[in-house]
Assembly symmetry: C2
Homo-oligomer: 351 residues x 2
């Protein structure tokens, strides 16, 4: 079992290992457990057996749970169960369910204790650390929420064994990104045959990928500086998710977006890291993209919350582990898009 | 013009005076203004003229705006107006509208700057100071929200002149309560003929009533101790609001509840302060209560969020300005209820 400390005003630990769900202990006696409807019953039952929640609340699968309407129903169920101020909300599931559960914890009675049990690679490496919670609006993703750090995070690697292969590979994108921006040793470890459910290097690689985010978040709790580097690859990724109506998943979009950011990095004078991002895409095998032109994605990139009045801000890399922030002119964005497109839009001729 | 400082991690000022709405200045350039639909147009226009909001959002009157459904619509309008992270939400109206606006500010993009312009006595004395924001659930009032202090509060006493007399008198309850728990000079000043819209002592009395809450909140930011004293009169008040389906308003319910708490205080060994609370009720002339028996209100008092596993916790008074917390046995609650009922339920024989 590995343990990573996350610092800040309310420090907490992230435990990574096997069999964690069956041995949970928390001090709160009144507990609301929230999990997605499609989570394998054995994990829900393991948590129920170890925590004896007052109420267990099922929410829709994946991003369908991240709405204010679902939040409203969840909060009503927590209130109907009379969870008191010194109770807790426990989120069990992928990043969407734990984002929702965290926002429910942040807002119920203006804030109760929150614990999170991510069951996907993406949820473990990205969503579980950093204190961001929230839901989507029709107008955009993650536009509503709170900073509400958990009291503890448990990443039980047993839960990864039941994931479809594509969901596992999707989730590796954030870990690979942590390799690019901070810990290059992760690059080959993520692409290794042993990085798979039950694989020999899974827990350690996962723990090191989480440690990158934990370090950044500890040093930059309110997203004023270094934390922005975690958005490497995300500006085009958010545009791809939006323009395809989420036909590509977040992790797949990040895979595509990292390659675009690598092209931009090279054009802007950095080392050519595209062999790494292409190798990752080859390993990840994301869902193919529809035909796209620059004008399809540019409005979404300009609307991204990392944009402001001065233009579209990108995280780029001088070299491995040397991220920086820069505003990229539209002509450069367009040129890089054309190069990116010829390499990644496999099906554009088929239409 | 009077200015009261509220301390804490993010200190801010409360200004009390006339003509404030026309001279507002805030550093944010992108602003969402939220106000209830029934607010007199001249106040909305005054704020629009001084702040030039990007978007103005009307919400339902009174507590009808304090729902997650209304919040959802408000957040969508803020997002559609592309209010950025460095924008602001301004709440103009009674306590319900400013509670909603504050929660919208707390949760949009995980928190943007919030300013509040209360236009009712209740909003000025109670809701505007303390950082509590939120909405109701079908399961109970104020069950969802955030602690999100404003950057500044402006109490423009001109807005009180348009209030119906009953709404003004309702709102005096919290000011009178601050007299009972902390500043006895407020007791006769609130009941004075000069305490009225345009009255000579209005702004000063209001400022001193606000200063009581500002002092408590500054010393106790997270409601662990002294802040609980602000709940004097509120345990029965919440029960009366619930059991009458909000046919009595909050301020009226607090008027009734303060008298009940004064009876309890005397029974539990304190000085008899019921002459004060009866004088207030005579001055306030609240809506009459329906016939009630103890069993109607007890479940709501026991469910109050100030209750816990050990029983119903009450704020009582040893004497003026000497509040304390105590658990009151059910037999005492029942006896006091019978005494209270004979004094306040005017219409019980008429049914």
């Amino acid at each position: 079992m590995r343990r990573i400390e996350v610092g800040g005003a309310q420090p907490y630990g992230v435990e990574v290992g096997t069999g964690l769900l069956s041995g949970l202990q928390i001090p709160q006696r009144h507990i609301a457990l929230i999990h997605p409807v499609d989570l394998p019953a054995q994990f829900v039952e393991a948590v129920q057996a170890s925590l004896s929640p007052t109420v267990t609340i099922e929410v829709p699968a994946r991003d369908d749970c991240k709405t204010l309407a679902v939040l409203s129903g969840v909060l009503s169920k927590i209130a109907a169960a009379n969870i008191p101020r010194d109770g807790a909300v426990v989120g069990l599931g992928g990043g969407a369910a734990t984002d929702l559960a965290g926002f429910a914890a942040a807002s119920y009675l203006r804030g109760v204790a929150f614990y999170t049990l991510p069951t996907t690679l993406l949820g473990m490496v990205d969503a579980a650390v950093g204190g961001k919670t929230g839901v989507n609006l029709p107008e955009g993703k993650n536009l509503v929420g709170a900073f509400w750090p958990p009291k503890a995070v448990w990443c039980d690697t047993d839960t990864l064994a039941t994931l479809p292969d594509a969901v596992f590979r999707e989730g590796a994108a954030e870990g690979f990104k942590h390799g690019l921006i901070s810990d290059p040793s992760l690059l080959e470890r993520v692409l290794s045959p042993e990085f798979r459910p039950g694989g020999a290097n899974l827990a350690d690689t996962l723990a090191d990928a989480i440690a990158v985010k934990a370090g950044v978040v500890t040093r930059d709790l309110t997203e004023q500086g270094e934390r922005a580097f975690l958005n490497f690859g995300h500006t085009l990724a958010h545009a791809l998710e939006a323009v395809t109506g989420h036909a590509v998943t977040h992790g797949e979009a990040v895979g595509y977006g990292m390659h675009y950011a690598a092209i931009l990095s090279r054009i802007m004078g950095g080392k050519d890291l595209t062999p790494h991002t292409l190798a990752f895409l080859k390993w990840q095998r994301p869902a193919p993209l529809p035909p796209l032109i620059f004008e399809d994605v540019m409005p979404y990139m300009a609307r991204d919350k990392k944009a402001d009045a001065q233009g579209v801000r990108f995280v780029l890399l001088h070299d491995l582990a040397r991220p920086y922030l820069v505003r990229v002119p539209e002509a450069v964005l367009r040129g890089a898009f054309e190069e990116w497109k010829t390499q990644v839009i496999y099906r554009s001729e088929a239409r």
